[in-house]
């Protein structure tokens, strides 16, 4: 076990997924001195390379959980582990793609994608990785454009390339397609699945769209209202590419929506 881990360290294998363990994590916000609980005793264990969707009512604390996984915030209780090592601060092995692309407007597309390598001080020797990442999302010809010249979908693709250039072991997607039009969203869902299959990273996707969760993920975790607790952990055993009209998925979707209290309307 130890030897295998050491081997994986020395030989730079293509980034494969890492395991993620969320153990009895609780979190609360301080608002004017009062404690507002947002996560209550959440435990999730994610296998390396799994694609897990986190689904729940808006404002239930899913995004907070992602910030804890990314290491941007520290939980009030419980621990998070990436491959046995405790998560205490951000690390480029866990990269977040936010709902807003948050590209740096003063940097060209290429420089935005290069951000991670530059921050880690390895850009000079690895410029090729930036070009590769841009090729991966099909935006090589926009390398010199500035963010204000891009459409919403293109900007989000650049954000994806900026994350992927670091070869993350865990890719954290915080409603990355939430603000895109429905056509672009469907295209990019297929692209995300293709990238995940090719690279093998573990993926954590926050979404409020049950269909999106079912088309993309092999596990859907449904959260309760705030403070978020795990309400259901559903395995989606269907091959890719998945069809939106698949009766099996439609059935799961109905179950999920009823868990979210929407059975009467659907």
């Amino acid at each position: 076990m130890v030897a295998a881990a050491a081997l994986a360290e020395t030989v730079t294998l293509p980034a494969a997924g890492a395991a993620l363990d969320i153990e009895q994590v609780s979190h609360a916000f301080d608002i004017d001195g009062a404690q507002l609980p947002v996560l209550s005793d959440v435990s999730i264990s994610v296998e390396p390379g799994e694609f897990v969707a986190l689904l729940g009512p808006s404002g239930c604390g899913k995004s907070t959980l992602l910030r804890l996984v990314a290491g941007l915030d520290k939980p009030k209780a419980g621990t998070l582990r990436e491959d046995e090592s405790r998560i205490t601060r951000p690390h480029p092995s866990r990269v977040v793609v936010f709902q807003d692309p948050t590209l740096f407007p003063w940097r060209s597309v290429w420089d935005n994608v290069a951000l991670g390598l530059e921050a880690q001080g390895i850009l000079k020797s690895q410029r090729q990785r930036v070009d590769d990442a841009l090729d991966l999302v099909g935006l090589a010809s926009f390398r010199n454009a500035y963010p204000h010249q891009l459409s919403g979908g293109m900007a989000q693709r650049v954000a994806l390339a900026r994350a992927l250039v670091n070869d993350p072991k865990i890719l954290i997607l915080d409603e990355p397609l939430g603000k895109l039009d429905s056509l672009t969203r469907i295209t990019m869902q297929a692209e995300i699945v293709a990238l995940w299959q090719r690279k093998g990273f573990t993926t954590l996707l926050v979404t409020h769209d049950a269909e999106e969760a079912l088309v993309l993920a092999n596990r859907v975790i449904v959260f309760s209202d705030r403070p978020a607790r795990v309400k259901a952990d559903i395995r989606v055993d269907r091959p890719y590419p998945r069809h939106r009209g698949d009766p099996y998925l439609a059935d799961l979707r109905r179950q999920i929506l009823s868990l979210l209290g929407l059975d009467a309307t659907w």
Partner: protein
């Protein structure tokens, strides 16, 4: 386009333009140039036609120069098609040439020829030309002294202001100590320090440099600070998840994001530092354009004052143009920016 029909072409037998539109076209393109030329000829004639009421040595040369301008305006605009971008630029500015020629004619007539305006206070154009030709060394010395003083003070003020602004915006501890001082001292007009500064500093030059730096530093500090403070946390989150260290967050996130604000501060600082420069030169420093103005007033040399004012205005305007050119280069990524 839409009014053109096939039968029009057939009726005239060949695609031939009639004479009237051709003439209209010519008048539209070159007419203003001809007007400009007439205005400048008028200016030249107004110089040479009547005798001067005073004793000025450059009247004749000015008249000749006006005729040269008139010739350039005429041939430049009429032949603009053969002159490339220079011709186009001249054509575009032709209306201004008309206005300028008319204004100069009026000025010449109202001062040098009939003295409608009281004379020592309203010198004619040729007396200002005389200043530029006969008092050039002194004027150049003054320009040099002003630019040196302004540049030194401004660069020091801008640098210190920028660094202070970034520190306040970034560090809570620095903000705790510097912010109250800034609020107490900053709004005070830098000129209010003049009497004290000239006593306490070893030389009037260092005192003025300090005051110019002070006038520049305050707006630069405040705007850099607010620029750094208003950077969205999302940018820091992104950079941190990508492995950025604090130094990267300051240099590569906070500062570039704050730059548009910084340039507003630099622009405001430039304006207030001009005011301090002139006042400092008028009161304490024995060189520079402010001093030249004061000196000219002492000798009732009003032409020299106008000449110095024109130079001063060109310098200030040039400085702002330069600042905006630098900004436009650095901030190409911005969509809409303030125009100058």
């Amino acid at each position: 386009m839409s009014t053109y029909s096939l039968s029009d072409g057939l009726a005239s037998g060949a695609p031939r333009l009639s004479r009237a539109p051709l003439l209209a076209n010519w008048v539209r393109e070159s007419g203003v140039g001809v007007l400009a030329s007439i205005a400048w000829v008028a200016f030249g004639l107004s110089c040479l036609w009547w005798e001067d009421v005073g004793d000025w040595s450059r009247t004749h040369s000015l008249g000749i120069a006006a005729f040269v301008v008139a010739a350039v305006a005429l041939f430049g605009t009429v032949g603009a098609d053969y002159l490339g971008s220079a011709g186009r630029a001249l054509r575009q500015r032709a209306p201004w040439l008309v206005a300028l020629g008319a204004f100069l004619t009026l000025w010449e007539v109202a001062t040098a020829k009939f003295a409608w305006l009281p004379l020592p206070f309203f010198p004619p154009p040729q007396s200002i030309v005389e200043v530029y030709t006969d008092d050039l060394p002194k004027l150049l010395d003054s320009v040099f002294a002003s630019v040196k003083l302004q540049l030194g003070g401004y660069l020091i003020g801008a640098t210190v202001g920028f660094l202070t602004g970034v520190s306040i915006g970034w560090s809570r501890a620095v903000g705790y100590w510097v912010h109250p001082v800034l609020r107490f001292i900053g709004p005070l007009p830098a000129t209010a320090w003049l009497p004290i500064a000239f006593f306490t500093f070893p030389s009037s030059w260092s005192a003025s440099t300090f005051l110019i730096a002070l006038a520049t530093g305050f707006p630069v500090t405040v705007l850099t600070w607010s620029g750094v403070a208003s950077v969205s946390n999302a940018y820091y989150d992104v950079a941190r998840t990508l492995g950025a260290k604090p130094s990267f967050l300051v240099l590569k996130v906070a500062i570039p994001a704050a730059l548009p604000h910084v340039f507003v501060g630099l622009f405001m600082g430039l304006g207030s530092s001009f005011a301090v420069l002139v006042v400092a030169e008028m009161i304490g420093v024995k060189a520079g354009l402010g001093w030249y103005l004061q000196w000219a007033q002492g000798w009732a040399a009003y032409a020299n004052m106008y000449a110095a004012l024109i130079v001063m205005s060109l310098l200030c305007s040039g400085a702002i143009t330069l600042l905006f050119a630098i900004r436009d280069r650095l901030l190409v990524w911005q969509k809409g920016t303030v125009k100058w």
